[in-house]
């Protein structure tokens, strides 16, 4: 009893901490999103409202920005998956110096995130390395910087290791005897991959997709440095409301909409992900060990 009480002593201060630094800030942002002391739904309505009578829903300015963010994040996620899966597969299957190779793919993550993005700024700019390189071969110069393409490149470059790592972990830990059993039963290579290996790697794919898609939808740094114009992604919109326009009410409403959307998507993803819970938390800890 005394021991239980003693341990419990640590829960209450932490509960207070949770309330102050996690619950209270969220409550404040929700409070602001409803207009603060003058309760109103105006700021939410503003997000969804048309500029003129009968404007199609998806063409309304803020909805369009949100859709654009989702669209660019989906494209980046698909590219990361297409590039990352074979990489994770090869890493898990073929090489004897697995950990060293994996390490090579993770080193860029230790570089500052902004420096990695800045690198592409210097490559893609008009007088940049890419055009200098193309010029050597007499090829026409490109004008990629400040386009959607540049934003997608920036996302893929920054988030690719997050796709590779969880897929690699699942493939590496896969029970080899299942694959052998399938081969013994007469499955060819394609069948083994499609019916055994890939389905078993789905939890890794889901983690990877989550770890690329979520930061992709909400980023404002990559679009700020590599994208053009003012209203690029929903992240930029929120940043502008808070730091430039100063409309905290509208900014909060957008932040709440984004939060609800993301948490809803996470919930959906969890439905597909039927791994034992304890196993996953241990995996998280292992992933942490790689840092």
């Amino acid at each position: 009893m005394r021991v239980a009480l003693l341990k419990r002593i640590f829960v209450y201060p932490y509960g207070l901490w949770l309330f102050i630094f996690i619950v209270a800030p969220l409550l404040i942002i929700v409070w602001f999103s409803f207009g603060g002391t003058d309760f109103t739904l105006y700021h939410y309505a503003r997000f969804f409202s048309p500029l003129y009578e009968g404007q199609p829903f998806f063409q309304r300015i803020y909805i369009a920005v949100l859709m654009r963010s989702i669209y660019l994040a989906v494209i980046s996620t698909v590219i990361c998956f297409v590039l990352g899966y074979p990489l994770a597969y090869a890493l898990a299957k073929f090489y004897s110096h697995k950990s060293f190779l994996l390490f090579l793919f993770l080193v860029p993550l230790w570089m500052n995130f902004l420096l990695r993005t800045y690198a592409w700024l210097t490559i893609l700019e008009q007088n940049g390395v890419l055009n200098a390189f193309l010029g050597v071969f007499g090829l026409p110069a490109t004008d990629l910087l400040f386009t959607d393409m540049a934003v997608v490149i920036g996302m893929v470059y920054n988030f690719l290791p997050f796709m590779v790592l969880p897929i690699y972990t699942v493939l590496r830990d896969m029970d080899k005897s299942i694959v052998e059993a399938a081969q013994d039963l007469g499955a060819n290579k394609v069948q083994v991959f499609l019916k055994i290996v890939f389905p078993l790697s789905v939890p890794g794919v889901i983690s990877g997709v989550t770890m690329v898609f979520m930061p992709g939808v909400t980023t404002f740094v990559i679009s700020n440095l590599l994208g053009g114009g003012q209203f690029i992604l929903v992240g930029n919109l929120i940043e502008q409301q808070f730091l430039r326009v100063g409309d905290w009410y509208f900014g909060s409403a957008m932040a709440v909409i984004l939060m609800v959307l993301i948490l809803f998507m996470m919930g959906l993803i969890k439905l597909f992900d039927r791994q034992p819970k304890d196993g996953r938390t241990d995996k998280t800890a292992e992933g942490g060990a790689l840092y």
């Binding site: 901490w17 996690i22 800030p25 990489l87 090579l104 570089m111 592409w120 940049g128 979520m214 404002f220």
Partner: protein, 265 residues
């Protein structure tokens, strides 16, 4: 044959990941600020870097915030994990759910909500301003969940009666914790602390919203420099950071391989 194709593919992907970093590094030695014209080898950007007081200020902020926030988060997180582990299934679920919120929540939402919270708290208290302290608190708050996530699996594997047994044998609660519990969960604590440190060093978004005038970490400084256009001093800084990271990783891997070979014996 297939392996060869994969090896070529892997080489291309490594080029994709490293070429941008190497380009940054090469052009830090370029005399001219241009990126398509080589004006001769020079260390002038390094000279400019070392004479830039803002960069040193930012470096100091980054490192002190990372060390302090990792330390504080590790202490809070370890004891919190220990406490959470004693809770019943239901309240445990609630506490862990709330703890994980910042992990799943978009970083920008965490950033702006903390910003509003700090502004409200400062107005309410009537003292202080956004700056170093708010930055530190923000970093501690996003680091704590990762420490808890790292420590929990270790605690779960621990015999529930270990702490009690130590006390039955005459240890004080502090002794029981320091001598029995702590050594058993130390790997989780170390992982959590390292994770917290790296997350803090690399953070931009939360820092950007929770700092005040005059206090910048490296990420914030790079962001504001990059927005003003290409600046070769950033290249020089990249080179130094990349080399530091490589040296640190080398030291860590040396230490790890020594330790594991010692364990094997």
């Amino acid at each position: 044959m297939i392996k060869r194709i994969y090896t070529v593919y892997m080489g291309i992907m490594l080029l994709f990941l490293y070429v941008p970093i190497f380009i940054l590094m090469i052009f830090s030695f370029n005399y001219t600020p241009s990126r398509n014209y080589w004006g001769g080898f020079s260390l002038r950007w390094y000279q400019a870097l070392f004479n830039d007081p803002h960069i040193f200020q930012a470096l100091r902020t980054t490192i002190t915030i990372a060390v302090l926030s990792a330390l504080i988060a590790t202490i809070i997180g370890t004891f919190a994990a220990w406490g959470i582990n004693t809770l019943g299934a239901k309240s445990k679920g609630v506490v862990i759910g709330l703890t994980n919120l910042p992990v799943f929540n978009p970083e920008i939402v965490t950033g702006v909500s903390l910003m509003l919270f700090f502004i409200a708290a400062i107005r309410f208290a009537g003292v202080g301003e956004m700056g170093y302290v708010t930055l530190l608190l923000a970093h501690v708050s996003f680091n704590v969940p990762y420490v808890i996530l790292s420590v929990m699996p270790r605690l779960r594997r621990l015999d529930k009666n270990l702490f009690e047994a130590a006390m039955d044998l005459g240890a004080s609660p502090i002794q029981a914790f320091v001598r029995v519990i702590f050594p058993a969960i130390r790997p989780g604590i170390v992982t959590g602390a390292l994770l917290a440190f790296t997350l803090s060093v690399d953070d931009f978004i939360v820092s950007f919203f929770t700092t005040g005038a005059g206090v910048s970490n490296l990420s914030i400084l790079i962001f504001s420099m990059a927005r003003r256009g290409i600046n070769p001093r950033i290249n020089a800084l990249s080179t130094l950071i990349f080399l530091t990271v490589m040296i640190l990783l080398y030291i860590i891997s040396r230490r790890d391989s020594k330790k594991s070979s010692a364990d094997a014996q």
